[in-house]
Each structure stands twice: as structure tokens, then as C-alpha cells.
Subunit: 311 residues, 6 copies
């Protein structure tokens, strides 16, 4: 049997058996904190930092995962080891952790049993869908600023990686009116550029990389890797609020996200960025990243994408 | 067997079998639209209006439930008929409908099958937990304005009943620092009073009822019933923005919500409202409501609450 | 000779001679107040109200047109009389008045003459371009909410009809990414629906017409006609802030503007309004309007549009 | 003949012939992007940077000037050469470039010809009006914070130099109620200091120069020169939001703008800055600037101003 | 002896002995709630409503005055009776009540005694200074919108009459830069017109009176009298947000305040309102008010003002 | 006699005689600017910086204290010398300066004398109440973010130390609903962390100290000492906006204020900071501070607190 395993509330279950009752708070309220990392050559990338961020999200949301960091680390390693070994074509795995506020007692009674006490904890893997990114890694992504705005920190903080993501859902739908393969680049209530639903957004200006302030976005682990690589490569890296004007006039732009590391952005609201093609900074940073993880990241995505789409 | 049934994606299943795979968008993104009504004497209350509101939420969120209003009406009636007949002590039933954006393809692959196409649709019932409200119906609820603010409509509109509710979760946690049985009364970004996580908030001023504007809250069906009753009873009913100052200086305050209809609020931020007891307007409105549904609503809650807590 | 006349700074000139020096404040600063009306059967519609609004705009902007209302009225009548008589195919005329802050002295010196003192005043007509509206009058317009927001009143008040309209220009460009024939429906900074670059926006809800508050939009003369017609037809007409949620869930929506009176809106952000076709309220209001001006407004547009596009 | 030339849509015309038809978008909508530089000793100052900024403004506004940077550079040089040679008393020239969205087709028909396709492009010079600045260079300018606020970037970005400037017009009118020779210092919607209608605003605090963030103002070329000079002189130069409190308590304040470089500000809202006189930092920076361009800038303004006002 | 009495913390003291220790919270924190009314023909006007408002302010601020409404009523009557009898030239008295949060314990220790427990309560009278208003009642007041904004309700609610009034102090200083006899008309953070430091602001539009919403201003007792008189006179009275545009274009404008009832406003930001003179609505309302209190209010002010300024 | 002296309007008076008439603007309007410092070993700490800040506050508020800095310095020294010598158990003194806008003429008339001209100036001392802080210095303080927000700078600037502090009063009342010994940590209107009513708030993140931007808080002298000590100790010190998320996830948090220097914060909204105990950074900074002033600051507070609470 080749089905991957899922950790769910203390047990390892087969993926097809991994489900939540309809009265879980994750479903009832979107009261869910989450984290995601991936493997490079079957090894989890910066799990430690991802777990630190998970614990920060949990602390802010007053959720107690009921597991130590060491225990979570062990669980993740075990899942990757077992699911990588399945040999079902996955070049690399993504790994997802999520923690909900647990079963919602008022509804739980219908199951004829008392509500389970404590948060719901789940860890699962998935094969990285390289085929989704192959074209964009070569041609660049198209971002669109929708009329929907980023949820402000005084409602719930974007620094917490959570799953109450209706604004992202709506924003992407708006963006896709412009380009079915486009994604939303959300502005905050003051009109500053923030991030996309799943990635941080960076621009290149005057030869340096500029990011929205770390306090008004989800400070991505990949984002931090870019900052780290910039330091190593002697590229200036600055945090400051900027607007659509700066984005469309940037020398380059890219998004960073765990599964594909960094991806060039070549069009915003239909306006070409730079010369409309992935630029030298993108190539320089992703090459440096690849050296760190001993993989040609772009090639892996292209190869993986090609393989998946073949019959 | 006394287990209630649940409608889930075209099938009736036993409640204990009603679950969503961990890769459902309802879990992954909180991209879920929902609706709730209840029975009075085993008959669903204003299902028609609830379904209309559901369709408005779906339309805004670009979700297609794949069922006509008539079909949904039939489903709900069937569920109530069957689950009411179980005779397991439920005086009255709550009925919940929710629709998610469906399975998230990137993760769904782990189950070894293609992602199901289309939204996830679920309808279920639950026995109304009268025991939760019995004391508050007599003594009044305590609301607290937290530092967390209501999500503004330009992020996602509070008029859509959705389940990306992290702000409500956080707000209630803050309120419960003040009073473990308290609930959050959220202010909007301009400091106007809006609503609680689960109810509309109304005040009595100058002998009339005042509500925040219908466009900045979830316009509740119960809220509309109060407006309707006010019309019938000759009580002025006005919509306008107001602030904490007005709330603490109101003659009375109450919250309206499907399961308990209306509930008196006798304390806000520790400050007594009026004389600190449920007031005449509350009694007048709930009596009129009771006449409409041929039930003494307060007594039903008190009796139900007593029965549940008895051994 | 069939060229229409233009009033410019005290003189009647041929249209092809009507121009402003490059150092006029209208060009240098967009410091221009404007007004537009149209003829029905060659008679100017509600010129009196348009001139009142012009004088309010001028008063707010501290500009002195240097002409009495009676003088302006006379000028407009004369222009219409003379330009209508040209017989060059115009069914009806639009009439535009604009007043700029006059010549900008620092630049004016280059013309080798002293700067003209006082505002620049211009009145001109143009044949109504029915061909632009014919299709939309039948099928409905498509509006799109862009990321660009309406300029707030504390910068310059939208109640003043002025020509610093860069935000409208940018907003329409964004909207046309979604639909090349679409127009922008701007939100204000709080996410409330306001208006389009050239028209007021109204929705039908519960059988009544709802408009954004008159103080946060340019209170159109056509908008006021709709309010007046609603009064005559017994249709409720309410002013209140509303959001995209209400717009997409409206029974009908339409825009009002001087040249085409009212036009149905059948799609917003790609979402169909009502059944996606011009609705009964639109037909009822435009019919009543037509009776007032003794013209079948829709037919005139369709006929005019057809004639213009014919060879 | 001593009349200067103006470049207009591909032709060189005499200044008195340089005009736009009343249906140009620059007049109809204020949809105009602009740029200005000046000569020092008859040579254009930092034209390259000004053209770069022009292209950024055009890119943001989706306008295509239809000329390469090299072509524009050539045009500017030619204009300065020819207009400087006229010998009509101009010590130095200002040079203005503006690009509008072109002719507005609906109105253009009145001229009896099809609308010209593409943007309107104009380049012209003007003699620098030293007489306007002579007194302020010695005594300092008086700025006043009006009730009118800066247009926020989510309406149209202040980083784009455009001519929809009604807010500046209104703001200056308010400021001049306080002091007929005063200018408005606009605050943004959050109450931060931004800029004046025509200049950047800088303060001296703790011996260093502080500017509002470059992303919330029009980042002036003169402003950049000050930053560059500060670097050369070892003066700290910081970007950060500040408020009226900081401005009135600054050691010095000044404005920077192309035509006069930098000008001392000695009064804000009637409150003296420092000792109420131009301070040492002003003198130090303008001296350094003068060295760069081999001119005593203050003296040139004083001399020029004196000469102009003489009979 | 002709010195008036003052009620202070349970005792009647001579006015020259009425003082607070420097460690009273009223001085240390501005934590003071206040109320003011006046006499007409030596009788207190609407004391009952003023006391109701005082108790609302106290309730919001969690201050307990320690006196019943009846006791306060008695105190006020006694003060007026005794101080009116002094015969020292006062035509009419103003009466002020204020309640502070009491002595600040940390500082109180310096007086060598324990801090007094409970709030500080003071009631005093003062002769109405008719001379301050005489000219404005005839010529109209001049209001100026300053850059300073009204404190928003989420900081402390303008509906509470309190003495943390630094913003009013600063705003009036700004207004007086424009006109030494002018007063500030504050805008809220969204640019809506609110009120002056000491009065409500009303405009006449379309023959009716319009006020900013009662929830965003201090809802004055005089303001309520105008609403009441409007009702009696058949004048429409509407509450809604409006902006400077509406104020400068109003048919008339006036301010209402306890000591002078209503006063015409004939200039805003230097722009004439209507024909620049007190208008018919002002005369109509103040005449009706005068009938209610059996005094010619304008004449009393003019006479009183003349008498005071005479030697 | 052991009563301390107070400077009041040019005279030294006994503390029990130091009071303001009820018509002082400090009482009537809260129009008061203030400053506070303390002694270490009977010597005033950084009086010079405190006076500089006082003059900045006065300058912004357009108040003229009527005394030179040297005169004020002398007055303060004299007061400390005389009051320290009283030997009444004060280990150390706090010193307060406040300046009000002077007597309010309209009310002053009741005292039967003309209003005093010019501001009211008062300087007084008080024994530092160590007993209030002893427990918190050991266990840490508990801060709570209330629903009340910080007054924005466009109303009156938090950089001015003034006594219109109603928002602080209300905010602390809200915080004390959560914990009777808690204090409010106010957010600004955008949800950024600002300060408490009496102290600056700092967090430790990544081993460095982070403060909200100096322009959006009262830039404390103690705050500046921490910055200075951080520089000396090689600890990074950064200014940037941060949110509750960062505060609850900080390694440590503390408040700084003149009387107790720095105090650890171990709980925010009931959430433990770090391990819930005063951390190493706190100990390191307060030790360094102690060295500077040659006192063991914590011990002095503990000893002083113990002595005061003893019988």
C-alpha cells in the first residue's frame, strides 16, 4: 500500500482516513493556526524556524498544541521518512502542520460522545506540485492589486499564520478576473503593498531588495532566507512601506514562498516590471539558494513539472 | 439507534460519520459560508429568509452550492423531521448549513484519488443547549469591548455569514479575561459598536430601539424579527452608528441571535446598563416573539436548562 | 460653414480655434471646476440646477466666474441655438462649462505678454455620442471595483465637480483590465461604494432605490431626477452607505449621468446582478423620465447609435 | 524675433502659438504627468534623473510618451540652446515637460477632424522668476498646515508628478488666509507632515536632516541633491514620519525645489523655527550646492530678483 | 460683602476661597466631567436635562458624584438664589458643575494629610459675559477649520462633556491665526464637520436645519432646543455627516451654546455664508427661543454688552 | 515644621497652601503642559533634558512659561535642596513642573479681582512612593490592551507631555477590569503598540531592544537613557512600529518611566512574556543604570517599599 500517513491527534492514520468531524473549530470558526515547510532532497528545510513561528502563532492565539518542540520535530521527521519512502513519484514533499481550537462542544454532542478536550493537531505531507510553477518560474507571475484589502493587525495579526483566509480567497478571485493565472497582491488599509495569499512580495530598487515591514506581513521563512542570502551576497536588503508606484517601477519583483522558494514577478496590473522578464537578481538569489540546498531549484521544478504533466 | 443524520455532499450520513478530509478548503482556508436557524415546536423558523441570506453570502463569495433553494428547503425539512423523531431529549433543534470552497487540489492528491469537484455542502442539526443561556436570560449577559476590532467590509464583508472568524475567537478570549462568562462586543475601526461573535447588539434609547447600521453588521434574521415586532408594537426602531458611550448609557441593551432569540445585556465593561437588570423592553419583545411562535421562550430555556443540568 | 461655436473668455470662437495656452492653470494644475448638461429635443435640461451646482463648486474653490447666472444662462442658450442649427447630424447636444483658475503667471511670461487676469471661462457643446451607449442600454454595463480609491473630501470634496481626475483615469484603466468595456466603481477609504468616474451609482433593494449618501459623492442632477421620479412613482428612495456585498446582491443596479440619463448595470466584478439583464425598475424609471422630456430615451440612443455607426 | 520656442506634439512652435484644444485630456481630466528642471549657467541640471522620474510617472499612469529618453534629452537641449540665446533677460531657464492622455474623443469631434491619436507631449522653458524668492531666501518662508490633507497613494500616488492638483490649490488658499505670502504644508491622513504643493520639506533635528519617507512624497531631485550633499558633508540624513510637533521644534527647516534649490523656513503656523532666521545648516547646504554648480545660488536669486523688479 | 458662593466638596465657600490643591486629578490628569447651564430671568434653564447629561458623562467615566440628582438640583437652585441676590451687575448667571476623579494620592502626601477620598465636586456661577458676544450676534461669527482634528470617540467620546480639551485649545490657536476673533470648527478624522470647542454647529440647507450626527458631537442641550423649536415651527431638522463643502454652500450657518443660545456664522475660512449676514432662519429660531424664555435674547446680549463696556 | 515648599507663580508656598483657583485653565480645559524628574541620592536626574522637553511642549502649545531655562533650573535645585532637608522619610524626591494656560477670564471675575495675566507655573516635589513598585519590580507588571485608543498626533501630539489625559484615565479603568493591578498598554488607531499612561514600552526581540517610533509616543527621558545604556552595552536598539503579536512573543518586555527607571513586564493580556519572569535584559539594563547613578535601583525600591509599608 502506498498511501501516505498523517499525524492526527496523537495517532498516525492513513491519508484517506485523515478527516475532522464537522464540529471541529477549524471548520466551524477557521480558528486554526498553521505552518508549512518542504524537503530538499528529502530533508526538511529549516524546520526549526518553522516550529518557532508556529509556537509564536499559537502563543498569540492562546492555543496550546500539547506537544513540545522536540516532539513535533520528531513527528515531522518520522512522517517525512515514512512518506518519502512510498516511492510514489514525489520528488519532494511539502509538510503541513495545523492546530485548531478543538471540537466545538455545542455541536459535538450530535456524535453521541463528549467533545474531545484540547486542540486538534494534524501534521501531513503532500508531493510538491512542481507542474503548477514551471511556467511561472520561466516567464514570471502576474500579480494584480484587488479592491479587497489585507486584514489589519488590530483584527487579527498577519504575522500569525492562520486559516481564516476568506479575504485571500476573495482577493484571488478578483485578481483572476484580470488574469486566470494571476494572483492577488493585497494592499493594506493605507494603500501600502503587503503580500499575496501565499507568498511574501519583494522588489529590487537601486540594486537592493526592498520588503514591506516585517511587522505588517507574515514574516516568511523563505523571506528570511532571501534576507540571509542577500547578506551573504552583499546585496542591500531594506524594510519599508512602499506602494504600487514602487512595485510597477521596480527593477525586478519576486515572491517568496516555501514550496518554490522564490518566483519572478514580471507583470503587475498588466504593467511590465523591468523588461518584463525574470531578472538578474532573481537568478542570482535562486542560484545561491540552490547552492545552500544542493539542488538546481528551477531545474527541479521544470523537470518535476514536465514529468507530472506527461501521460 | 438514536444518532442524528447529517447531509453531506449529496448523502445522508450518521453524525459520527460526518467529517471533512483535512484538505477541504473549509479547513485549509476557512473559505466557508454558513447559515443557522432553529425550530420552535419542531418547526423551522424563517427558513426562507435564512436561505435567502445564504444565497446572498454565496453570491458574494462566488460559491455555487449546486442545489436550488427548493432542494435545500426539502433537505432541511427532512433532517429536522428525522432528527426530531429520535427522541433523545432535544426540546428544539438548531440547524446549520455550511458550504466550503471544496477540496483543495494540491493536498487532496494524498488521499490517492482526484479531488472532488465543487463546493462541500453540509446540513446538520444539534439540540439547542438551553443550559448555556438559562442564567443569562434571567440575570443578563456581560459584554466587554476588546482591543480586537471587527474585520472591515473592504477585507471581507460582515454581511456575509462566513467562518473565517479568528477575530471573533481572539476577541472573546480578551473579553473572558474580564469575565469568564462574558462575550466580546466588537468595535469597528472607527470605534463604532458593531456586534458580538454570534449575535446582533441593540440598545434602547428614548424608548426606541437603536441598531448599528444594517450594512456594517451581519443583518441577523432575529434582528429583523425584532424590527418587525417593534413595528407591530409601535416601538421606534432606528439604524445608526453609535458608540460605547451610548451603549453604557442606554436604558436597556440586548443581543439577538437565532438560538435564544433575544437576551438581555446588563453589564458592559463592568458598567451596569440601566438598573442592571433585564428591562421592560426585553420582556415586551420576547413576549411578543413568544406569541408569534406559540412558546414562552424564556420558560423553555429555563426549563430546558434545568433539565439538562439535572443528573 | 458648419463648425460649432465655443464661448471662451468673453468671445465666441470657432471650435477649431478654441484652445488654452499651455500655461493656463487648467493645464498646469487641473484647477478647473466644470459642469455638463444636455438637450432633449434641442432644449437644455435643468440648466438652472446645473448652474446652481456650478456656483457651489466655484464658491468652495474660491473661484469667481465673473458672470452672473443670468449671463451664463444666456450664453448657454445662445450656444445651443447656434450649434443646433448647424444641422451636422447631431440629434442632441451635450453642453460643457468649465472655469479654470486662469493663467499661471510664472509661465505666462513666455508668450511675451502679461498674464490675463481672472479665471478662464469656457462653454462648448458636443453632439451626444449615442453610439457609445447603445449596446450597454440594452445589455447593461459592467462595473469593476478597482484597488484605486475615491479621493476623500478632506483632500478635495467629491461634491465639487472638478477636473483633477487622475484617480478616475487610473481607476478606469484598472477596471478595463477586467473588461475593456468596463468602468470603475470606486470605493471610499472605508470600503463604501461611491460612484464611477462619470456617473452616480444606485441599487435596488427590497423594491426601493438606494444611493450612497449625497455628501460623499457628486450629487448628480440626473441622480436628483431619479429621486424625483421615484417620489412621483411611489418608489422608496434612501440614502445610506453600502458596500460591494449589497451591490452584487441588489435586485438591480444602474448608473445615472447627464448624457444617457440612466443605464442598467448587469455585472459587477464579473458577478451578475439580479438575473443579469436590465430590470423592471430601470425600465420604469427611464420610461417616466422619457415622459417628462417627451422622448423615448432608449430608442433615441439606439437609433442615434445605429445612424452614427452606419457608413 | 525674441519669442521662445515650445515643443508640442512633434513640432517646434512659437510660445504664443503653444496651446491645447479645449478637449485635450490635460484640460478635461487633469490626466497629465509632468517634470521640471532648470539650468545653472545655461546648462540643464540633472536632466537624466528628471527624465528617469518622468518615465516612472508615465509607467505608473500607463502613458506612452512615444519618445525615447535620448530623443527627449535632445529636445530639451535644443530648446534650452535656442531659448537661452534669445537674450531677453533670463538669467536662467526653467524647463517643463508634460504629457497628457491626449485628445478626449467625445469632445474632439467638434473641431471637425478626428481626434489626434496618442498622448499630448509638450516641452517648454520659462525664465526663472528670481524676484519671487529673493525675500524668502533672506528672511525664510512661512508655512501653514491647512485642514486640507494630502491625497493618499491609494487614490493616486504622490510619487507620480502629476497635474491633478486641486488639493494643492485649495490648501494654498487656506494657508494664505494666515499669511498672504505663506504656503501650505500638507499633512497626510494620519497627521504626518508630507510636503508643500511645489517642494519637499526637511527639518534639522539633533544636527541631522530628517525627511518624511520617500515613499509618501514626491521624491524630489533637489531633495536627492540635499541627501547627496549631506552625505558629502558628513551630515546625517534620515527618512521617517514626523509630525507638526517635530517641525515647530526643529533646529531648522527648509524646503527644496528645482527652481530655487533650497529655501529656509522660519515660521510654521506662526511659530518661529529655531531663532526665527535662516540657520547654519541652510547656509552650509546651499553653499555646497553652489560649489557643485559653480554659482552663488542665493546671490543669483537676490541679483535676479533685484534686476526684475527694477523699472 | 458681594462675593458669590461656590459649592466645593460639601461646603459653600466664598468664590475667592474656591480652589483645588495642585494634586487634584482635575489638574493632574484633566480627568474632569463638567456641565454648564444658565439662567433666563434668574431661573435656571433646563437644569434637568443638563443633570441627566452630567450623569451620562459620569457613568461613562465611571465617576460617582456622590450626590443624587435631587441634591444637585437643590444645590444649583441655592447657588443661583444666593448669587443672583448679590446685585453686582450680573444680568444673568452661568452655572458650572464639574467633577474630577479626586485627589491624586501619590502627590497628595505632600500636604501632610491623607488624600481626600472620592471625586471632587464643584458648582459655581458666573455672570454671563454678554460683551463677548454682542458684536457677533449682529455681524456673525467667523469659523475656521484648523489642521487639528476632533478627538475620536475610541479615544474618549465627544458625547461626554469633559475637560481634557487640549485639542480645542490648539485648534482655536490655529483658527486665530486667520482671524483673532475666529473660532475653530473641527473636522473629524474622516473630514466630516463636527463642532467648535464650545458650541454645536448647524447649517441651513434647502430650508431645513442640518446637524452632524448626534453621536459624533457633544449633543448640546441648546442644540436640542433648536431641534425642538424646529419641530414647533415646522422646520425640517436632519442629522447627517456633512463636509466643509456643505458648510460654505449653506444658506445659513449658526452655532448653539448654552450662554448665548444661538449665534449666526457668516464666514467660514474667509468664505461668506449666504449673503454674509445673519439670515432669516437665525432670526426665526432665536425669536421663538426668546418667546419660550420670555426674553429678547439678542437685545439682552446687546444691552448687557453695552453696559459692561461702558466705564 | 516639616511641610515641603511649592513654587507657584513666582512665590514659594507651603504645600498645603499650593492650590489653583477653580477658574484656572488647567482645571477648566486641561490645557496644561508638564514635566517630571526625580532625584538619585538627592540629586536631580537629567534636569537639563527634562527642561528641554518642557520647552518643546510649551513651544508646540504656544505657551510662554515666562522663565528662562536657567531660572527654572535654579528653582528646581532650590526646591529639592529645601524639601530634601525636611527629613520626613523621603528616600528620594520626584519633581513636577506644570504650566497651564493661566486663569480663564470669563470665570475669574467671580473672585472679585481681574484675572492674573499669563500662564500658571508650578513646581513641586513629592516623595517617591517605592511601595507602589516593589512587588512589580520583582514579579513584573501586567499590561492589558484596552479598547480605548491613543489620541492621534493630529488631535494633540503625544510627544507633548500634557495633562489632557482622559483617554489614559479611561484606558486604565478598562485594564483594571482584567487585573486590578494592571495598566493599560494603548494601541494607536492603526493597531500599533504605543505606550502606557505613564511609561514607555519596550520589547526585547532577537537580543535587541525595540521601541515604537519616537515620533508616535512621548519620547521619555528614561527611554533615552535605556537607548544610551544599550549603546554602551552593545545592545541593538531599534525604532519601529510593532503590534500585540510582537509584544506577547517578545523575549522580554519592560516599561520605562522617570520614578522607577525600568520595570519588567511579565504578562500582557494574561499571556506570559518569555518565561513569565523578569529577564536578563532587564537585569542588565537596570544594573547599568544603577552604576550610572551609584545606586542599586531595585534594592532601593524594595527597601523603600518595605519601610513605607511597615507600621
Amino acid at each position: 500500500m502506498t498511501e501516505p500517513l498523517v499525524y492526527l491527534n496523537g495517532r498516525m492514520v492513513a491519508a484517506s482516513e485523515a478527516h475532522l468531524p464537522i464540529f471541529d473549530s477549524g471548520i466551524v470558526m477557521g480558528a486554526t493556526v498553521t505552518e508549512m515547510t518542504r524537503t530538499f532532497r528529502k530533508k526538511l528545510f529549516r524546520l526549526d524556524e518553522h516550529l518557532d513561528r508556529l509556537f509564536r502563532s499559537l502563543h498569540y492565539a492562546r492555543l496550546d498544541v500539547g506537544l513540545s518542540k522536540a516532539e513535533l520535530t520528531g513527528l515531522c521527521a518520522e512522517l517525512v521518512a515514512r512518506n518519502s519512502a512510498l516511492g510514489n513519484g514525489a520528488d519532494e514533499l511539502g509538510l503541513v502542520i495545523f492546530v485548531t481550537a478543538g471540537e466545538y462542544p455545542t455541536y459535538a454532542v450530535i456524535a453521541g460522545r463528549p467533545a474531545r478536550i484540547g486542540p486538534t493537531v494534524c501534521v501531513h505531507t503532500f508531493p510538491l506540485p512542481f507542474e503548477l510553477w514551471a511556467k511561472k518560474m520561466q516567464m514570471g507571475a502576474h500579480l494584480v492589486t484587488p479592491s479587497i484589502r489585507q486584514v489589519p493587525a488590530q483584527c487579527y495579526d498577519p504575522q500569525m499564520k492562520c486559516r481564516s483566509r476568506m479575504h485571500y480567497y476573495l482577493a484571488d478571485k478578483e485578481a483572476q478576473l484580470v488574469d486566470p493565472e494571476g494572483s492577488a497582491l493585497l494592499l493594506d488599509l493605507a494603500g501600502n503593498v503587503t503580500e499575496t495569499a501565499t507568498a511574501n512580495f519583494l522588489i529590487v530598487e537601486g540594486g537592493g531588495i526592498v520588503t514591506p515591514p516585517s511587522a505588517s506581513i507574515l514574516p516568511g521563512i523563505s523571506w528570511a532566507v532571501v534576507r540571509e542570502l542577500a547578506g551573504e551576497l552583499g546585496i542591500p536588503f531594506a524594510e519599508r512601506d512602499f506602494q504600487v508606484f514602487n512595485a510597477v517601477n521596480a527593477e525586478e519583483a519576486f515572491v517568496t514562498s516555501t514550496p518554490y522558494c522564490i518566483m519572478p514577478v514580471t507583470k503587475i496590473n498588466g504593467i511590465a516590471i523591468g523588461d518584463g522578464k525574470p531578472g538578474p537578481m532573481f537568478h542570482r538569489v535562486i542560484a545561491a539558494w540552490g547552492q545552500k540546498v544542493e539542488i538546481d531549484i528551477v531545474r527541479q521544478i521544470l523537470d518535476g513539472g514536465r514529468r507530472r504533466q506527461a501521460p
